[in-house]
Symmetry: C2
Subunit: 208 residues, 2 copies
DNA sequence: GCCCACATGTAATCAGTTACATGATTCT
DNA sequence: AGAATCATGTAACTGATTACATGTGGGC
């Protein structure tokens, strides 16, 4: 089954990666190589893929008629292909968008916290201290990106890249959460005493 | 390869699922069936697995000497096995705990937000309104769980189930974030106008 | 000359889900 | 009598990562 067997008008429910690529292609035509770098920021904060997964998926999308490809003689042994979303692809994307997602997130840092008191308290405190610092750095970076986006008017829902801004806002909130939660956990494990969790708001005054 | 080839003292780096099961077994001995239900709350908010993945993984952990099994004649055609973590297993878990995690989260709701302005604004607003409501309900549930845990003293770092509390706190913060972000997105898409994001705390009015 | 960015693919493996398969005990 | 819970496994498939493979053009 899948694609390429002559029948392209079926229900053909694609993979999540396929829809992610279609979403990227609504920003304009791109090569597989460009998509694999565009999948870095801000989309990559919440969805990533390697080129080895992207190229076969683009071939499936093309076989389903959801993207069209034009070949140019590019560098290297093979032809460079620029992909564009088709009306069928856009329709499929629109149908997928309104299906409520059910997938549950997986978080390794939270999993490690579950086993926190099996580890050495000092080492665990150091680990979560580092994670809080990393979140702090990423937060600063994201805030700058967000400020640039607001200057470009991307915080308006009608802007064609409003989605970039929405994703970045989620990234900012997620990093804020990690920063305060990891700091609370580090302090708790370090002191060995009960510390009430204050939430991300208390740490919010070192703002922008 | 992996386990079962006679050599059990090697570095034998396990899978993330293996460490998740070891973490659960630090709470006490359990059968595969019990583990597959314990992997629901609170751990399941951030890590899940089906029984079809758990049983083979337990066999690998046993082959590596990280867990030991005792068989009792249980219901059904096969023997019921109760697993217990071994000193080797605990040492492996401790080593894994202090390795900084790098895996990036995948979030389908954020991915859909990236393509928000390819969808019908009213339908997208309705979707994110529903997601905000779901987050609200889960938040209320988690808050009750957290209150019960505090009554049981599980908010003290020395409590053997302090990890349960830490994971639940992260769950609460995550739901809070989703609630406010999804509500902001729904309102933005519905009104079609720029709305400053206020953040998850109601006590804040300094928009961007 | 060497490294990097551009550019595309395949093969092998690992992780995870869905479906198949069996059967005892307890509750309604 | 039927459904739910307890209990354990395998097979087929999909999703994702790591490693293999190739080759050009530009900057240092």
């Amino acid at each position: 089954m899948g694609a390429g067997d002559g029948d392209d008008s079926a229900t053909a429910s694609g993979s999540t990666l396929g829809y992610a690529l279609l979403s990227l292609l609504t920003r304009g035509p791109a090569t597989g190589y460009q998509l694999s770098s565009q999948v870095k920021a801000p989309l990559g904060h919440f969805w990533t893929a390697k080129h080895s997964q992207i190229y076969p998926e683009l071939a499936r999308l093309a076989a389903a008629g959801w993207v069209s490809a034009v070949e140019q003689a590019g560098p290297g042994p093979r032809a460079k292909k620029t992909y564009e979303i088709t009306p069928d692809g856009l329709a499929a994307l629109r149908a997928w968008l309104v299906v409520p997602p059910v997938a549950q997130p997986r978080s390794e840092i939270t999993l490690k916290a579950y086993a926190a008191n099996s580890g050495d308290p000092a080492a665990m405190a150091a680990l979560y201290g580092q994670l809080a610092e990393r979140a702090e750095r990423m937060l600063a970076e994201y805030e700058q990106d967000a400020a640039r986006m607001r200057e470009a008017g991307m915080d308006h829902p009608a802007h064609p890249r409003f989605g970039n801004y929405a994703v970045l806002l989620m990234g900012i909130e997620s990093q804020r959460t990690v920063r305060s939660w990891a700091a609370w956990l580090a302090a708790s494990l370090h002191g060995g005493e009960r510390i009430p969790y204050g939430g991300p708001s208390g740490a919010r005054d070192n703002g922008y």
